[in-house]
Every structure is written in structure tokens, then in C-alpha cells.
Symmetry: C2
Subunit: 250 residues, 2 copies
DNA sequence: ACCTGAACACCGTTCAAGT
DNA sequence: ACCTGAACACCGTTCAAGT
């Protein structure tokens, strides 16, 4: 006799006002978005299909449309979930406490952490068209931008400096994280005919410098370079700030 | 009587060893790649379809497969054509003459020029998986990397500094150009329901700083910011260089 | 030699119909 | 209330067949 698949808990669950504990969860938008992110993380973005996504949820593709307006909106929702998973980190979200440099350091590392956790999904954050042109990836939410700008202003930046800091900070994050993540198996084309890391001398006959430096080119210094470029950016922003408020040079 | 559509030139053309002047051009890979780029420039990447592309060339989709192995390869070819259109510029391609800073300035502006000429296609350069992990966008060809590294080494950078300069330079270019281009109508999703530039106060009730700075956030200072960030990068690289060769501080 | 018709497998999406 | 079968329009791609 087969096990009675947990249906006997239904009444207790109803009494408790909760959904049935380990019973068949009735899909729901959040579960779909989470499954989509999981899919991208493991199978890559090009493989994501409404039909295949339904399959991983034990459901036909058409069922998804009861919770999500379409594939484009699903991808936007995945981006939102990534962006707010950055925000949820209280280390990152909190207002400046040990100065604006520490504030931006925590911000930058919080974003970097999420990017490295989802190397194949992070490019979505960069490539989806933002809802407003001044919502610059990867800080793609009004909450983020508000947090950033209000943080800087509260730390003595004038309006113009805060905005130019926002621009410089986002450019910095996007360039560094996109390239770092690209080295960690971010694909776009479906054909994964990737070499073992060292392309043979095939096309390098006319590139003696590249051939000579190939080993050094393949070394991973991402963390250190991120740190150094970030420090440099902060130094640059310190100049902008002190130009605006010539008194304090904290 | 209808005009004889230029067929009478056929013999002359054959004698000259050239294809018939204004007769029906027999497709050919280059023409297809150029048409694809044109399509992306005008209609956007998401609209590009083998079938629609064939249509713009007056041909059925299947004909394309005689010249291009598939859509993925087509997109790679479009990227290659963009990348080498950067190289073709002799201003950009030439070896260092007025010092390495001028050399990198010309490089950076050459890449930026191409990016701004093809705002909707440029993101492809960033998102297609490179054939080698050390081919960092947007300098996505061995020729580019060779040119860059050899240029720096010839100007007194040691190997390690040249490589770290390459990393910093590509991160800088990618971040800045991707964000600049995103402001110039680079779409990814097919739905172009873009606002007129100023999102209404809809979601800005909880973002007072963003609302206050909205005008300033929407101003376009891309050119000046690019310049300033580039100068700063070059200064940083000058430090790296002089650490390696403590004698000259050109 | 160059192009196409017809076909295949797979998409995203809709909607009336099932339970 | 929630899911599905069947269908539609549209993909990328192959291949035997046309000219």
C-alpha cells in the first residue's frame, strides 16, 4: 500500500491558519521567481524556458501565467529579487556610521557578494532595461539610489557631488563585477565549447606579447584589484567632496 | 518595355574579374553580418530573427545558412565586426608616439566612438562569452590585447604592470560605456514602454532625496565623466609604472 | 551555384475546458 | 481555485528539391 501523501495534515493546517506543511505547495509567484533564479544559476540563462521552468516545478508551462504576466516580467522579477537580496543584508543597508567611506565599502562588498553568488544571473542586472534612465545598474532600485544619495548627503556631500559619486560608483561596480563574474562561468551563448583555460598557440603566432604573458593574464587577482580600484574611487570622491565643502577633510 | 535591369553589364564585369556592378549581389557572409548589425542598430537586438533578417536581404531565412553556421555564430561575427571596426581606425591602431598616456587616450576614445555609434549593438560585445577568459570585453580580440600590452611594454611598463593595466583599463571601459550606451536607447526586453524620461512621482514618495535630485540625476555629463575617470585611471597607472621602474617619471 | 518549400522540434502565450 | 489540452503564431535549423 502506498504512503498517503501527507493529505491527512490538511485539517490541522487549516486550523493553524497556515498552508499545509509539506503538502503540494500551490505554486505562487515567489516560488516561481526563486525557481527561475535557481534555474539560471545551475543551467544558465539561455536554457531558461517557460516550459522547462514549469517542469522543474512539476507543472505545465501554462500554469505559470496565472502568477506571472510573461517571460519578460519573470526576468525582471528575478532581477528585482537579486537587487533586493543585496538590500536585505543589514550590513549593507544600514546608514553611514563609521563615515561615508566605510558606508560605500560595505555597499560595494555587499553587491559584489551577491554578484559572485549568482555569476550566471548577475549579467541580467546589467542588461535588462531599467525603468528609469537614471536607475543605473547594478544599483537598480529606487531604494538603492535613495539609500546611496541620502547616505552621501548626510555625510557632507552636496547634491551635485552625491550625484556624480553615484555615477562613478555604479560605473565602477558594473565594470568590475561584470568582468569578474564573466570569469566564473557566465555564459550567454548556449554552446559551452569552452577551452580548458589555456587556448592553444592557434592564433597567438602574431601575438608574441600575449603568448609571453598568457600565464600572468590567466591569474586571478580579482579580489585585490577590486579592492584597489575601490580605494582609488573613494579617494577620488573624497576630493570631489572636499572641493564642495572646503572646510572638513575627514 | 521595362528597363533591362543591368544584366547587359555582365560580360564586362566578367572580363574585369569583378562581380556584376549593380546586379543582384549574391548575398555573401559579409553582407549578412553587415545587415545584422544594421538591423540591431535600427530595430534592436530582441527583434533580430533569421527570418526577418533574410527578409531585409530579399531572401528566405534558409539561404543564410549557406554563409553562416547559425544564429549564435552570426552574433559572434557581428561582435567581431564591431571590434575590428575599432581597430581599423588608424588613429587608434597606431603604436605609442606621444607617450603611453596619449596612446591609451586614443584607444579609449576609439572604443567609445564605436560604442556610441552602435548603442544597441554594443552590449553584445560585453555579453557574448569570449573565446578565452583573459579576452576581456570590450577589447575582445587577440589583436587588441596584443596591441595594448605590447604598447605598454614598449613604453616602459614591466609585464606585471602591463597586465594589471589591461585589467583596469577594460573594467573602466566596460562600466562606463555600457552605462553611457544604456542611456542612448539600448534595450533588451522587446517591450519599449519607456517613459518620457521623468518617471512620475509614483514610487518616489519614499525617496525624497531621489525626488529632489531627479533633475540633476537626469543630466547628461557622460563625456566629461568619461574624461575625468579616464584621466584618473591613467594617473593610477602612472603610479604602477613608476613603482616598477623607479627611475623615469615621465 | 544559389536559393526555396516543406518539415521538425521547440518557443511564448491564450483560452476554453477539466478537476 | 487551480491546473491543463489543444491550438496559434513564431522561432532556428535541416534537407531534399527546384532553377
Amino acid at each position: 500500500m502506498p504512503a498517503t501523501d501527507g493529505v491527512e495534515d490538511a485539517d490541522a493546517a487549516l486550523v493553524a491558519g497556515e498552508p499545509p506543511p509539506s503538502a503540494r505547495v500551490p505554486l505562487g509567484r515567489d516560488r516561481i521567481v526563486a525557481a527561475a533564479l535557481e534555474f539560471i544559476d545551475t543551467q544558465g540563462l539561455p536554457g531558461l524556458t517557460m516550459r522547462r521552468l514549469g517542469q522543474t516545478l512539476g507543472v505545465e508551462a501554462m500554469s505559470l501565467y496565472r502568477y506571472v504576466p510573461g517571460k519578460e516580467d519573470l526576468l525582471d522579477a528575478v532581477v528585482d529579487s537579486l537587487v533586493s537580496s543585496m538590500t536585505r543584508d543589514s550590513e549593507v543597508l544600514s546608514a553611514p556610521q563609521d563615515g561615508w567611506q566605510d558606508f560605500l565599502q560595505r555597499l560595494a562588498h555587499g553587491v559584489r557578494r551577491v554578484a559572485l553568488e549568482h555569476p550566471r544571473a548577475f549579467p541580467l542586472v546589467a542588461s535588462r532595461p531599467p525603468e528609469a534612465p537614471w536607475l543605473r545598474p547594478p544599483l537598480r532600485s529606487i531604494e538603492w539610489v535613495e539609500h546611496f544619495l541620502a547616505g552621501l548627503v548626510s555625510e557632507g556631500f552636496d547634491d551635485e557631488s552625491a550625484v556624480s559619486g553615484y555615477r562613478a560608483f555604479t560605473s565602477f561596480l558594473l565594470g568590475h563585477l561584470l568582468l569578474e563574474v564573466a570569469g566564473h562561468g557566465a555564459d550567454v551563448g548556449p554552446l559551452d565549447a569552452l577551452d580548458d583555460g589555456s587556448t592553444q598557440d592557434d592564433g597567438l603566432v602574431n601575438a608574441p606579447t600575449v603568448r609571453r604573458l598568457r600565464a600572468s593574464l590567466s591569474e586571478d587577482h580579482d579580489a585585490a584589484e577590486f579592492e584597489e580600484a575601490l580605494e582609488n574611487l573613494l579617494d577620488r570622491m573624497a576630493l570631489i567632496r572636499s572641493e564642495a565643502r572646503p572646510t572638513e577633510t575627514s
